[in-house]
């Protein structure tokens, strides 16, 4: 076990709610991400005109970048090396330069021979809480104080 977890299994209880963490994504962050991804600007993720060509109101955050942002919120809370499974459904387009609310709720905790597991429900919403951009689950493996 590496020493990078920020959270112990005993610190987590069923029903715990973390956040929502409020984040936003600036245009240049998406440009940088797309350049790594082999999808250089301009494209629907970086450019207003390209986005409008396919019926979007404006450029959107790529799905794999959205996942990276959710993962960052989780590791900000639990630490590096804790994510065992992150499974997200993209239900709406994620805009740039707008507040995004990432919430985590602990739905199960379990200890077995393989370790200490925490199951979480994940949401990312914009201004309308009951219309999430992203829903999903995460499974974390945490160290024990014992």
């Amino acid at each position: 076990m590496t020493g990078s977890a920020k959270l112990y299994f005993e610190d987590v209880e069923l029903g715990d709610e973390i956040g929502p963490a409020v984040i936003s994504v600036a245009d240049d962050q998406v440009v940088d991400f797309c350049s790594l991804w082999g999808n250089p600007a301009p494209n629907r993720f970086t450019d207003q005109a390209e986005a409008e060509k396919i019926g979007l109101d404006g450029p959107i955050v790529p799905g794999i970048m959205t996942m990276a942002l959710v993962s960052r919120v989780i590791t900000d809370w639990a630490g590096a090396g804790t994510v065992a499974d992150l499974d997200l459904v993209f239900r709406g387009t994620v805009p740039h330069n707008q507040p995004l609310y990432v919430g985590i709720q602990v739905s199960d905790t379990e200890q077995d021979d393989d370790g200490n597991h925490v199951q979480c429900d994940i949401t990312m919403t914009g201004p309308v809480p009951d219309r999430p951009y992203v829903i999903g689950t995460a499974r974390l493996n945490l160290p024990s104080r014992d």
Binding site: V30, F33, G81
Partner: protein, 150 residues
């Protein structure tokens, strides 16, 4: 009762592994990736801090390998719909990915299925990719769901 729709695609792709790579995990890639998502965790940004925590070098955030799914997968020749979007993504990290790693990917068509909702019928195309490092250690399994709408 679910709506039955007609859609055809290339079923011969099932059971076929598509290899891609190598993909070098450079410090530049990890640095730009962490900066673009605003991640300042020293494990992901500082090799010395990562080594002090027991890792071999600066660690890639757990979702980084999804960058390397670059559309090299074959066309399934789906005869349905016109509008396509990224419907979901799953990452299961198996082992740390660190700067200096050289990854290879093995992908296969996992499933093709339909769902009908308020906005109509959609076909989900799910690819599963396993990433391994230069030592043959599986470092992550990634699933990508592409959705095609009527």
């Amino acid at each position: 009762m679910p709506t039955q729709i007609d859609y055809e695609y290339d079923h011969s792709l099932y059971g076929v592994e598509h290899e891609s790579g190598p993909f070098d995990v450079t410090r530049y890639i990890v640095d730009v990736y962490t900066r673009s998502i605003g991640d300042d965790n020293p494990i992901f940004t500082d090799g010395q801090a990562a080594r002090a925590a027991g890792y071999a070098d600066q660690v890639a955030p757990p979702t980084l390998c999804a960058l390397f799914e670059r559309g090299e997968l074959p066309d399934i020749k789906l005869q349905f719909g016109r509008r396509q979007f990224h419907g979901g993504q799953r990452v299961e990290p198996r082992a740390p990915i660190v700067v200096g790693d050289r990854l290879t990917a093995s992908s296969h068509l996992k499933d093709v299925y339909t769902k009908t909702g308020r906005s109509g019928t959609m076909v989900h195309v799910v690819w599963e990719t396993t990433f391994s490092n230069q030592d043959g250690v599986v470092v992550a399994d990634v699933q990508r769901s592409q959705v095609v709408r009527e």
